[in-house]
Symmetry: C2
Subunit: 323 residues, 2 copies
């Protein structure tokens, strides 16, 4: 084993554990400084890795066959299923400094409950989920929170701003990330109660490069590196982005077919690669002792490789919360 290990929850992805193991086999080949602790059905994992000719010296396997499904109450799941792959993975990642983080496609609610239960740091920060989306300046914008904490207060939004700023510093090596506050207008006076309460708090925090309110049409303009919002609004930004990308891409496909212009499919390919949230994607749970990456349920073989690389980059930044 190398000195940096990522814990992988092999259960929870729609395509099943074989896909996850194939993806990790690729990650082992591409990221030689990393080792992986795979939590899931031991026999299946072992035989699949061997079949793919993976470097078994950088693999640790923890047997787990139980999952917390999306239909279960997350709290009940975490409390009553100590053998579930997610619970075992969380306990493992918290057990030693050599585990730098974990990746799971499991139940989001259970990930959040579990991160509070097993991995909360002493500052008792409420966790948030950060998503990274491509912006109009050919860079990336971090949205915090995208759904971890639906009903929040201004204290929590301030925490999210700090976590998001720190995250972008480490992940993209941005010295002083521009932090914007999602609102319904750019002026300082605009916003709902929560936004109006939060604005002066962010403005007063000199450790943040606060750039003021950001309107929805500028959320991915690149005017800010970190977009701060409550989990409900952030969930809208995240999912609207996905929905609109899908709608416009579908429009082009239809237009191409209707007008018999197959060459327009090149545009479709280009946009799909830029906005392919399933391979890029995943949300980072920030604010716990270890970084937990939530991969999407419909992850594909590229997903776990990309997320492993991001987790490694992030870890090699100036770590504050990961100790």
């Amino acid at each position: 084993m190398t000195d940096k290990i990522i814990v992988i929850d092999c259960l929870g992805a729609d395509e099943g554990p074989e896909m996850v193991v194939s993806s990790i086999s690729k990650a082992l080949a591409e990221l030689p400084s990393l080792s992986f602790a795979l939590v899931g059905p031991k026999d299946l994992i072992e035989s699949k890795l061997k079949e793919l000719g993976s470097d078994m010296s950088r693999v640790e396997i923890v047997d787990a066959n139980e999952t917390i499904t999306n239909f279960e109450n997350p709290m009940t799941g975490i409390m009553t299923k100590p053998q579930a792959s997610l619970v075992q993975a969380m306990k493992l990642v918290g057990s030693s400094d050599k585990y730098i983080g974990m990746i799971t496609a499991g139940n989001s609610g259970a990930i959040l409950v579990g991160s509070v239960r097993f991995l909360m740091n002493e500052q008792r920060t409420r966790p948030c989920m950060a998503a990274i989306l491509p912006n109009a300046k050919d860079a990336f914008t971090c949205i915090v929170d995208t759904g971890a904490t639906i009903d929040v207060d201004s204290y929590q939004l301030h925490e999210f701003a700090k976590l998001g700023s720190d995250f972008m510093k480490k992940l993209y090596k941005i010295d002083s990330p521009k932090v914007g506050l999602l609102s319904n207008g750019a002026e300082k006076t605009k916003g709902n109660k929560l936004v109006k309460e939060t604005y002066p708090i962010l403005e007063a925090d000199t450790s943040l490069n606060f750039v003021g309110n950001i309107e929805g049409n500028k959320s991915l303009s690149g005017d800010c590196d970190v977009l701060v919002c409550d989990g409900f609004a952030g969930n809208q930004v995240l999912k609207n982005t996905e929905g609109m990308a899908k709608n416009l891409i579908t429009d082009i496909v239809k237009y191409s077919k209707k007008n018999n212009r197959p060459e327009f499919m090149e545009v479709v390919q280009y946009l799909m690669s830029k906005y392919d949230i399933s391979s890029l994607g995943g949300a980072f749970v920030l604010g716990a002792r270890k970084t937990i990456v939530k991969a999407r349920g419909n992850s594909n073989e590229k997903t776990f490789v990309n997320l492993s690389r991001m987790l490694l980059n992030y870890h090699e930044g100036i770590s504050i919360y990961n100790k």
Copy 2:
């Protein structure tokens, strides 16, 4: 004058009153059953209309030279500027049944304050702003509210649902519009406090065709005809849609140039016409005695023609709130 008159606030558009008057000149030619009451600088309006050869027998002009700017407090503006074009237009539209509605590109806040001050109906419904956006089923989805009421309660959201449903019945002649509630998940248990409180109220109202929670990625999927949300979240949906359309269209322009593929500009043209919010657009203020259409500041010559046509169609539906 014909028996249906639309009141036009000629001040407020970024391009100035000449553009608005040119647009109305087109509307006079295209919509022979309509007359217009133009509120703005009388000499300018008169000479411009004559220059364009418009039918002056269907035009009434009310002189106004003052505006409430976007930098003024809306309440102060409404209360201290009785001569402002917006205030005069609102008083005029409320003065007689022959005025079926009004269109203005003025200050949104002042429009809302004015509609409460001059045009509130006896039911004392809180106004909401409905926007109509193109959806994935090549139809339109009405978003209520898009920013009239930023901090709302479940009673108000219920009102918005009824107003939006009635609006789509009248505007698009949909018998039983599907009403969805914007949330962070499709399940009944998902939502912030407000959404969780509102869900059972909408579910219990048998006059509505309530289809449950709608996630952000489905907001313009066409799964609902009316998407109900608080003004803050609705503003995000509206502006994100606009922002994402702009980002993807810009992506294609860049890709086309970089790869020297001018033929891809046809895709750009197509998407721009489908998502051209400035000519399609405008939000409808619902819940007042008269329908007020807020045209975007960056309206063009097509805008007032399109909005006049929509206002006429809407008025000729089964009118409930317009009496």
